[in-house]
């Protein structure tokens, strides 16, 4: 086996720099995010990395008001599953969007949420 096309670590390093990276199956065209060894659609292993545009629409969302330990100081905060332009989805925090304006179908754009030691996926206004 060769090395993974994109590891989770590489995904978040690229995300920290502002770029979302998915993988596309060279056999059937399936897009996947996060990376995996075998294509769930055709069981082949012919991945190519694909840079995504970063824009999409909210497929579903929630506002968390009772948080786990380590996030209790952040409530209320929004989490959404975003359907990206290329057809693959990704989950992230929604930031800089008034909570009362959140809606399914709302256009949003990827932005990295960066702290000293961690990068996570965020989406802001399109």
């Amino acid at each position: 086996m060769t090395d993974a096309v994109v590891t989770s670590k590489q995904f978040f390093e690229r995300a920290r720099a502002g770029t979302l990276t998915a993988i596309r199956c060279g056999k059937c065209g399936e897009l996947a995010l996060p990376p995996k060894e075998f294509c769930a659609a055709c069981q082949q292993r012919a991945w190519q990395p694909v840079t995504l545009a970063g824009d999409g629409t909210i497929a579903s969302y929630t506002v968390i008001r009772v948080a786990p330990r380590h996030h209790t100081g952040e409530v209320p905060y929004a989490i959404a599953v975003v359907r990206l332009r290329e057809g693959v989805s990704l989950i992230g925090r929604v930031v800089d969007v008034p909570l009362e304006t959140l809606a399914i179908g709302l256009p949003v754009r990827f932005r990295p949420l960066v702290t000293d030691d961690q990068t996570s996926v965020g989406f802001g206004p399109a």
């Binding site: 989770s8 995010l33 996060p34 769930a40 497929a59 579903s60 969302y61 929630t62 506002v63 968390i64 008001r65 009772v66 948080a67 786990p68 330990r69 380590h70 996030h71 209790t72 952040e74 905060y77 989490i79 599953v81 975003v82 989805s89 990704l90 989950i91 992230g92 925090r93 399914i104 961690q118 996570s120 996926v121």
Partner: protein, 384 residues
């Protein structure tokens, strides 16, 4: 394959306890063995469900620990962890061990203790059933997972917060009839609708509580079961899995794991959804009951909320669901939940459910879901 029967059941009172999960399981197992009129020495294996013992009790290797506390330390024991479906997964594997002719009597059960830690801490531990790289760092909670399902279901089918609230009201009404339930009081639609949001659109009263408790089921081969009183037969038991990640689900308004596990269990049993008389299903949140009734084929996709609102799933309705009070009112000691659901179905099919008895119940279904909709177990039972 040999036929398998449930010959004994036991459940502790659900709620807050000052005993370990192993002690809670052991109490339930003691009652289940007495119910089966079998001695501890007859048990040939223990299949055990426990989820957050490593976190709340600093306890791993909980299978042998549970067997030791029960007093059968030399019995081969395995702990199952499929999040909230753990003891139902344990049940399925125990059924296979007996069906395959390896053992004649197997004890199945689970125990969980979570009310010994603060809510923010237990919320964190339950969130460990979400993906640690992609979901937990966002602060996604277990209610948050089902809130994503609820929003999608509302958008696709027009399901309302009132319909979800009707599930809570109904399950509390049932729970009031169950002396083992954590909540034995009725609530009103208005109380549910006015309760605070936990993860929009889910409110406090849409959510099951944190619960300590234990449950146990004794399984036996046909040869043993024929000599026991009140055996209930296992007609089928199936599992299904799916991607953990919420964003990889093709349609957040449906639960394909429930659909696939149900199809396999119905096929094993040679029956269909129309044959089922009583159901215990995984209502960790009100929306979870709605999507489960649809995925099990009991109601058409998009009509699960209507079924609750119209009273079709109430005691006295066309298909009573969660006569025990469900996870919502009976409580949800996660590692014990599947075994407790099977205990309720067994009690119903024996005709021993007292004020919550479904008259003439002949075929029962138990459905248990584990974390992020990624694991579902469905089993079917008959009284003869």
């Amino acid at each position: 394959m040999r036929r398998v029967a449930v010959v004994g059941v036991g459940v502790t009172k659900f709620g807050k306890h000052d005993r370990s999960s192993a002690e809670l399981f052991a109490e339930a197992a003691r009652d289940a063995l007495a119910d089966a009129e079998l001695s501890p020495a007859s048990v040939q294996a223990l299949y055990y469900g426990n989820v957050v013992g490593g976190e709340t009790e600093k306890q791993l290797h909980t299978g042998p620990q549970a067997a030791s506390v029960l007093g059968i330390p030399t019995v081969p024991t395995t702990r199952f962890e499929t999040a909230c479906a753990s003891s139902h997964a344990a049940f399925r594997h125990a059924v296979m061990e007996i069906a395959a002719g390896v053992s004649d009597v197997v004890l199945v059960g689970g125990g969980e203790r979570v009310l010994n830690v603060p809510t923010a801490e237990s919320t964190e531990y339950f969130a460990y059933a979400s993906d640690a790289t992609w979901e937990q760092p966002l602060g996604l909670t277990f209610p948050g997972v089902f809130a994503l399902v609820a929003r999608a279901h509302m958008a696709k089918y027009g399901t309302t917060e009132e319909q979800m609230a009707a599930v809570a009201v109904k399950n509390h009404r049932h729970g009031a009839l169950n002396p083992k339930a954590q909540f034995q009081k009725e609530i009103t639609l208005e109380q549910v609708l006015k309760s605070a949001y936990v993860a929009d659109p889910l409110k406090l009263y849409d959510c099951c509580p944190f619960t300590d408790g234990g449950a146990a089921v004794v399984l036996a081969s046909e040869e043993v079961a024929r000599r026991r009183p009140r055996a209930v037969w296992v007609l089928g038991s199936a599992a299904a899995s799916d991607t953990m990640l919420m964003h990889e689900k093709k349609d957040l308004a449906r639960v394909p794991t429930t659909e696939r596990a149900a199809a396999a269990a119905y096929r094993q049993a040679g029956i269909g959804p129309a044959d089922v008389d009583v159901v215990e299903l995984h209502d960790c949140f009100t929306i979870a009951e709605i999507v489960a009734t649809e995925g099990l084929g009991l109601f058409e996709p998009g009509t699960g909320g209507i079924a609750a609102e119209k009273g079709w799933t109430s005691l006295g309705g066309k298909l009573p669901v969660n006569t025990s009070g469900g996870l919502k009112a009976k409580g949800h000691p996660i590692g014990a939940t599947g075994a407790a659901q099977i205990a309720e179905i067994t009690t119903q099919l024996r005709g021993e459910a007292g004020p919550r008895q479904v008259e003439g119940a002949h075929i029962g279904l138990a459905h248990t879901l584990g974390g992020n909709l990624a694991t579902v177990l469905v089993s079917l039972f008959s009284r003869d």
